[in-house]
């Protein structure tokens, strides 16, 4: 197994707030790595720090053997990291087509093939092709956002809470598609609740209060009631 992304002890501030106080991650190629933790644990900020959107003040982020923690977001994206933010980041004034066009960095045959693949995966998008992003349903926005991240030659996708605000039936569909995408790329998935993601995850990192507090395999976590209770708790 090769490690695609290593995060070592990053510390991130937002304004005066010390949000990440030492987060470690190791993401293996071709797997789905889950980041779990309760609300406010620092999951979203971790993804944003990897993307360079809220740069880490200290620590190291190594992607494919290269340190990226000081790079600007657009350069990090160009290294091959796709990002699906919590709010999906769909441009409401742009059509689905324009959203895709915006995302595509280089329109070559491989990109076309990926676009065809992802549109087959989400036929909804083909139907809504000329519709504005603002007029899509929550599920369609999620699909568009994932499609946008996947369409480039990205070796890593960071997906932030894809289940948020979606009906369970749609969530299932999104999770299925993630399993499908996993065959072609590596995925880091942030989830607030455990069960949602337990069907797709391979490795698990749990954050709490800005620290990595647990790492293990999906199977480990599933059987470890104490960890579940302590860090994931009950909650909606």
């Amino acid at each position: 197994m090769t490690t695609l992304l290593t995060v070592k002890g990053i510390q991130t501030f937002i304004g005066q707030y010390h949000i990440l106080q030492g987060v470690d991650l190791e993401v293996e190629q071709g797997r789905v790595t889950l980041i779990l933790g309760r609300n406010g644990a620092g999951k979203t900020t971790t993804l944003r720090s990897i993307m360079g959107l809220t740069p880490a003040k200290q620590g190291q982020i190594v992607f494919d053997g290269e340190e990226i923690q000081t790079l600007k977001p657009h350069l990090i994206a160009q290294k091959g990291i796709g990002y699906v933010p919590e709010d999906q980041g769909v441009f409401s004034d742009l059509t689905v087509e324009e959203n895709m066009k915006l995302a595509i960095r280089k329109l070559d045959d491989a990109t076309r093939a990926r676009q065809d693949f992802v549109l087959d995966l989400f036929p909804d998008l083909k139907i809504a092709w000329k519709r504005k992003g603002g007029n899509l349903s929550g599920g369609q926005k999620q699909m568009l956002s994932i499609a946008r991240a996947f369409v480039n030659d990205n070796r890593l996708l960071l997906i932030d809470e894809p289940s948020k605000g979606l009906a369970p039936i749609v969530v299932e569909k999104v999770m299925e598609s993630i399993l499908e995408l996993k065959k072609r790329t590596t995925i880091v998935l942030v989830e607030q609740n455990f069960l949602m993601a337990s069907g797709v995850g391979d490795d698990v990192f749990i954050l709490d209060d800005g620290h990595t507090v647990y790492r293990g395999s999906m199977a480990d976590v599933r059987s470890d009631e104490a960890v579940k209770k302590k860090y994931l708790g009950i909650g909606l």
Binding site: M51, A77, F91, K101
Partner: protein, 286 residues
């Protein structure tokens, strides 16, 4: 040609001149949310550099190129070194661009002197053509044509090209655009420079139409452009064009029938729109 048609055509020609100034302002303002009070000063610099180059070389095309380039460079520098730290902070932007306006306007007085300078029409565009048995100046037709071209060109740029998509997306969520691998700052700088370039381009076209230049020319035209934007609906590019023609026609009619009030009519028109429809005739409430 009846008097009415003549006045209308003149009004359209004037409207297109105002539109040429307004288009850059509305691009920068409507898309990036920066109200650039130095826009008129950039316009003035474009006109003066165009005038100087035209005088030195005798080539109007060179004058247009030089004038446009001046605005483009000024806009780029302005965004890069002054505006950039203040995106989202409207008060600072207003205060800062006003300061830049002062410096640029005073700069014109230093470089070109505070007096009025004559700006002749290029030979090719002098004279008149006959429309419906009445003479009409060629230069006004040229102005209308250029205005229409710019309207179509900018519309195409925004709606059809990837740059247009990036600009529209970047206004809504610059962070996400970056996360898609696009250097949104560079795009913003270019938009700013492009808007400024359009202003100075319009200035070189407008110069011979006005026939003369003076250092305050920027402020006057900026006001007219802003009024047009308010009337048309802020951030609405096509609305600005319609508003410009509307103002142009009103002003031409007033100048003919009630010249004392001609200058005030713009402001009165704007006040009327503000009372009846504060979001502008074609604007969306934001």
């Amino acid at each position: 040609m009846s008097l009415t048609v003549n006045l209308l055509l003149n009004g359209v020609a004037l409207g297109m001149l105002i539109f040429l100034i307004a288009v850059g302002l509305t691009l920068i303002f409507g898309l990036m949310g920066v109200l650039n009070f130095a826009h008129g000063a950039i316009f003035a610099w474009g006109a003066y550099v165009g005038w100087a180059v035209y005088g030195a070389t005798g080539s109007f095309i060179l004058a247009i190129l030089a004038g446009t380039a001046t605005g483009f460079v000024l806009g780029f520098v302005m965004e890069r070194f002054f505006i950039r730290p203040f995106y989202g902070n409207h008060v600072a932007q207003i205060l800062l661009t006003l300061g830049l306006m002062i410096v640029l306007t005073e700069g014109i007085k230093i470089f070109f002197g505070p007096n009025i300078l004559g700006f002749d029409k290029p030979e090719l565009l002098q004279g008149v053509v006959t429309i419906l048995q009445d003479p009409f100046p060629v230069y006004r037709i040229f102005t209308i044509g250029v205005g229409a071209l710019v309207l179509i060109g900018v519309h195409y740029l925004l709606s059809r090209t990837k740059y247009g998509i990036i600009i529209r997306a970047g206004v809504q969520d610059p962070e996400m655009v970056q996360a898609l691998g696009i250097d949104v700052r560079k795009v913003f700088a270019l938009v700013f420079a492009f808007g400024a370039g359009l202003a100075s381009f319009g200035a070189v076209i407008a110069g011979p139409s006005f026939g003369s230049l003076h250092p305050e020319i920027g402020m006057q035209n900026q006001l007219a452009a802003f009024i047009v934007i308010v009337i048309g609906g802020i951030g609405n590019f096509v609305g600005a064009a319609i508003g410009a023609v509307l103002v142009g026609i009103t002003q031409t009619l007033m100048a003919y029938y009630l010249p004392e009030a001609a200058l005030a009519v713009n402001v009165a028109l704007m006040a009327l729109v503000l009372i009846l429809k504060p979001e502008g005739l074609f604007g969306l409430r934001r």
